[in-house]
C-alpha cells in the first residue's frame, strides 16, 4: 500500500511555466502571452489534487512575484485562490468536454486577473490596460494545447500499473 508518490513532473512543469511568464517576447506576442503559471496550477490541481495543494500554489506565486518584481504575495494570493477553486471542482472539471473545460479555465483565469487587478488597485499601482484580458483570453484558447502537452508529460512519467486508482 505504501506507494511512492511522484511530484517532480508537476514541479518541473510549474517552474517552467513560471519562467515562461518572463521569457522575453516581442511586444505583440507579449500581449497575448497566456498566464502559464496559473494554467499549470489549474491543470496539476485538477489531475493530482492530493499532491498539488494551496501551499504549492503559494510557493509558485511567490516565485512569480520575485520574477515579476511585483508586490510580494500578489501572485501568491491569486494563485492560491485559483488553486482552491480548481480543487473544489476538480472532479467535475475532469469529465468536462474540452470546450467546457476551456470555459472553466477562462473563468478561473478571469478570477486570477480580477484578484490581481484588485490588489493593484488597493496598492495604488497604475491600472493595466487591455493586456490583462487579452492574456486571459489567450490562456483559455491555448488550454487544449497546453493541456495536451502536460497530459503527455504526466502519462510518460506516471508508471501505469499503480496509477489507476479511481
Amino acid at each position: 500500500m505504501a506507494r511512492e508518490v511522484r511530484y517532480w513532473p508537476a514541479v518541473v512543469c510549474l517552474i517552467v511555466a513560471a519562467l515562461l511568464e518572463v521569457l522575453p517576447l516581442p511586444d505583440v506576442l507579449a500581449t497575448w502571452r497566456p498566464p502559464f503559471a496559473a494554467i499549470a496550477i489549474i491543470y496539476w490541481t485538477v489531475m493530482w489534487p492530493n499532491r498539488i495543494s494551496v501551499g504549492t500554489a503559494f510557493l509558485v506565486g511567490l516565485f512569480l512575484d520575485l520574477l515579476h518584481g511585483s508586490l510580494l504575495g500578489e501572485n501568491a494570493l491569486s494563485l492560491s485562490i485559483v488553486c482552491y477553486l480548481a480543487f473544489r471542482f476538480h472532479l467535475r472539471i475532469r469529465i468536462f468536454p474540452l470546450w467546457q473545460m476551456s470555459l472553466t479555465v477562462f473563468a478561473l483565469l478571469a478570477v486570477n486577473a480580477f484578484l490581481q487587478l484588485w490588489i493593484d488597485g488597493v496598492a495604488g499601482a497604475p491600472p493595466a490596460g487591455v493586456d490583462r484580458w487579452t492574456q486571459v483570453l489567450a490562456g483559455a484558447l491555448l488550454w487544449p494545447i497546453l493541456m495536451g502537452v502536460m497530459d503527455r508529460i504526466r502519462e510518460l512519467t506516471e508508471p501505469r500499473s499503480r496509477s489507476i486508482n479511481y
Binding site: S53, F58, F87, N165
Partner: protein, 329 residues
C-alpha cells in the same frame, strides 16, 4: 488515466482541509503584501530570495543572449567596415568638442564660485547591461545586471547615450530593478533648457511618451523645446537630457496645458545603460556649501520617490514673469 482522487482517500490528504489551508495562506499573503508595500520591512528578505532566483533568470535570458551573440558573429565585413568608419567620424567630432570641455569646466567652476552657488558634481558612471527578461507586463520596469555589490544604490539614476532612462527601485545584490521614466507612477523634475522653466514630467505608461500636466496656459513653452533634469528632488543629477516637447494642446476651459514630450533615450531599444553613482567624487572646486546642501538633500528625500507633484505651480508663475521681462529687453 493516471488520475488520483482526493475524495476517496482522505488519509492521503495530510493534515488540514483545503479550505483551512487557503485561509492560512491568504492571511500569510496579505501580511506579506502589507509589509512589502510599506517598503522597508521586507527589503533584505526580498533581496535574498531574489538572489536565489538569479540563476533561473540567467537561464531565461539565455536564448536572447545567444541570439544576439549569433547575429554579432554573422555580421558581414562590409557592415563592420561601415560601422567602424561611422564610429571614427563620430569620435573625431566628439573629441573636437571635448577639447573645449576642460577649459569650460574650470571656467564654469570659477564662475560658480564667484556667484557663490553650488558647484556641479562630476558624476561617476557604471556600465550595466539590461537582462533580457520581461518583468511585470503592466509596469515599465527593467532588470540590470549590476547591484549593490557593484556600488549601485536604490534611487540611482539610469542614463544611456541620449538621456535619462529611469531610476533604480529595488536592489537584488547582483542585479537591480529599475523603473523607467515612462511608467505611470514615475514623476521627474525637469526644466526647459531654453528658459529654465521648471516643471514635472510624468510617465504615461506607454514607452514613447511623457506628459507635462502642470504648466499654465501662458507658460513659455514651444514644440521642440529640450527638457533636461533640474536636479530638484535630489534623485536625479541635474542637467541630463530628458526629452523634447512633441505636442502642446490647450483645451478650452482647462487651467493647464496638455503637453506631450518624447523621451530622449531609446527606452525600448537600449541594451546597455549607465548607472550614475552620485556623491562619490567631487570636483576640487566643489566647496563646503555643496557638501552641506547635498547631504541635506539626500537625507531628506526618500530614495524611490521623486519630487512632490504639486510643487511646481508657484515656481512656474515666477519663471514666467522673468521670461516675459527678458522678452521686453
Amino acid at each position: 488515466m493516471a488520475f488520483s482522487t482526493a475524495g476517496q482517500n482522505p488519509a492521503s490528504f495530510r493534515g488540514t482541509s483545503a479550505g483551512l489551508r487557503l485561509v492560512l495562506v491568504a492571511l500569510l499573503c496579505l501580511t506579506l503584501m502589507v509589509l512589502d508595500h510599506q517598503n522597508q520591512h521586507l527589503v533584505s528578505l526580498r533581496k535574498n530570495l531574489s538572489l536565489m532566483v538569479q540563476p533561473l533568470i540567467f537561464l531565461v535570458s539565455t536564448p536572447s543572449r545567444i541570439g544576439s551573440g549569433v547575429s554579432d558573429s554573422f555580421t558581414t565585413r562590409n557592415t563592420l567596415k561601415q560601422e567602424n568608419r561611422d564610429l571614427n567620424r563620430r569620435m573625431l567630432v566628439m573629441s573636437a568638442q571635448l577639447q573645449q570641455l576642460a577649459i569650460l569646466k574650470t571656467e564654469n567652476a570659477r564662475l560658480r564660485a564667484l556667484l557663490d552657488s553650488t558647484a556641479k558634481l562630476d558624476d561617476r558612471v557604471l556600465v550595466a547591461e539590461i537582462v533580457a527578461v520581461d518583468m511585470n507586463p503592466f509596469r515599465q520596469s527593467i532588470l540590470i545586471n549590476k547591484g549593490s555589490r557593484d556600488g549601485v544604490k536604490v534611487g540611482a539614476a539610469l542614463i544611456d547615450a541620449e538621456g535619462i532612462i529611469g531610476q533604480i527601485t529595488r536592489d537584488q545584490g547582483i542585479a537591480a530593478e529599475a523603473l523607467l521614466i515612462t511608467d505611470l507612477d514615475h514623476a521627474l523634475p525637469v526644466e526647459v533648457l531654453r528658459n529654465r522653466l521648471r516643471t514635472i514630467a510624468n510617465g504615461t505608461g506607454s514607452g514613447d511618451k511623457l506628459s507635462l500636466p502642470f504648466l499654465p496656459r501662458n507658460a513659455d513653452i514651444r514644440e521642440g523645446d529640450m527638457l533636461v533634469t533640474s536636479g530638484l528632488g535630489g534623485t536625479f543629477p541635474a542637467g541630463y537630457p530628458v526629452g523634447t516637447i512633441a505636442a502642446i494642446r490647450s483645451a478650452p476651459g482647462q487651467p493647464f496645458l496638455e503637453i506631450e514630450a518624447a523621451p530622449a533615450a531609446q527606452l525600448n531599444r537600449v541594451r546597455e545603460v549607465l548607472v550614475v553613482l552620485q556623491e562619490e567624487q567631487r570636483e576640487p572646486a566643489a566647496e563646503a556649501t555643496a557638501t552641506v546642501i547635498d547631504e541635506s538633500m539626500e537625507s531628506s528625500v526618500p530614495a524611490d520617490e521623486t519630487a512632490p507633484i504639486d510643487e511646481p505651480t508657484p515656481e512656474t508663475g515666477s519663471t514666467d514673469s522673468t521670461s516675459s521681462e527678458g522678452g521686453t529687453d
